[in-house]
Assembly symmetry: C2
Homo-oligomer: 153 residues x 2
Amino acid sequence: MTEIDKIDRRILGILQVEGRIANNELAERIGLSPTATSDRLKRLQKDGYIVGFGARLDPHRLGFGLLVFIEVLLDKTTPDVFDDFAKAVQRAPEVLECHMVAGGFDYLIKTRLADMTTYRRFLGDVLLSLPGVKETRTYAVMEEVKNDGPLPL
Amino acid sequence: MTEIDKIDRRILGILQVEGRIANNELAERIGLSPTATSDRLKRLQKDGYIVGFGARLDPHRLGFGLLVFIEVLLDKTTPDVFDDFAKAVQRAPEVLECHMVAGGFDYLIKTRLADMTTYRRFLGDVLLSLPGVKETRTYAVMEEVKNDGPLPL
DNA sequence: GAATTTTTCCGTATTTTATCCGGTGGAAAC
DNA sequence: GTTTCCACCGGATAAAATACGGAAAAATTC
């Protein structure tokens, strides 16, 4: 697997924001031929710098008006609470992100739901019913100041 | 702006995961002609359901090995601390997300950086130097259990 | 420092894909 | 029953992606 150069970074920077740009236009912007550009793009994918492509959707227009972060504390008595919890979380479609953190709690979860009623049900039926969950703290988002900032390449 | 139907949702679901899929293949998967599929895609963009497209990059291969969440508390004495803070945050390229939350603190920030040294500098030079920041709590991510879950359409 | 290997790049030809356009069928409105 | 509207289709055209041979540049070796 080869190293990455300046042009590759520019390609990544553009694709991060305009993922469906035509290869031709991408080529023009970075100042290379379409063939060379396509070669680079393929390499960046093959080498794992680009994991995939995706559409950015507007959650609010799609029935996900509520963004919530949840801090989760686990009951660390059983040896594989962490594994169990991680696996359960990956199967829950409501969970957009879940990170194990160092600090005052164990996991930070990001979820998008329709409204508070839905959230209430999610908390009870999904989260609190998971084995090993000792405590949760809910933070409802009032305003999304910045949403999907690109990596500053 | 028209309503969305079952087929539209399937299109969105596919595009969320495979944003660069060819219109032809998309058409085949949903069982419509390429023309009809293209029409729907255009409409979904025009009506704002699809905000854009982007490449999913691997942060770790690009020099962003450290994911950090930061809880921020503001000094609510000046009337426009919130606006000032929000604007400053939007200009900071290190900040991937920033949300104003209801609960024990005011803002939750998500940032990706090279390492702890870089983070230390970011905290001092950027965050703590913003006007109105009273207190911050740092949570370094040890394991990314789930990263970019799609909306469960 | 010259020769060789490797990598990156380009241009052309071919294939694939997207878009345009006229027309069809079905549902709702009149 | 006719008209209107909408989503869809298929064929024609335009545009883009890909494959391929070879040239230039860079790195490696001797």
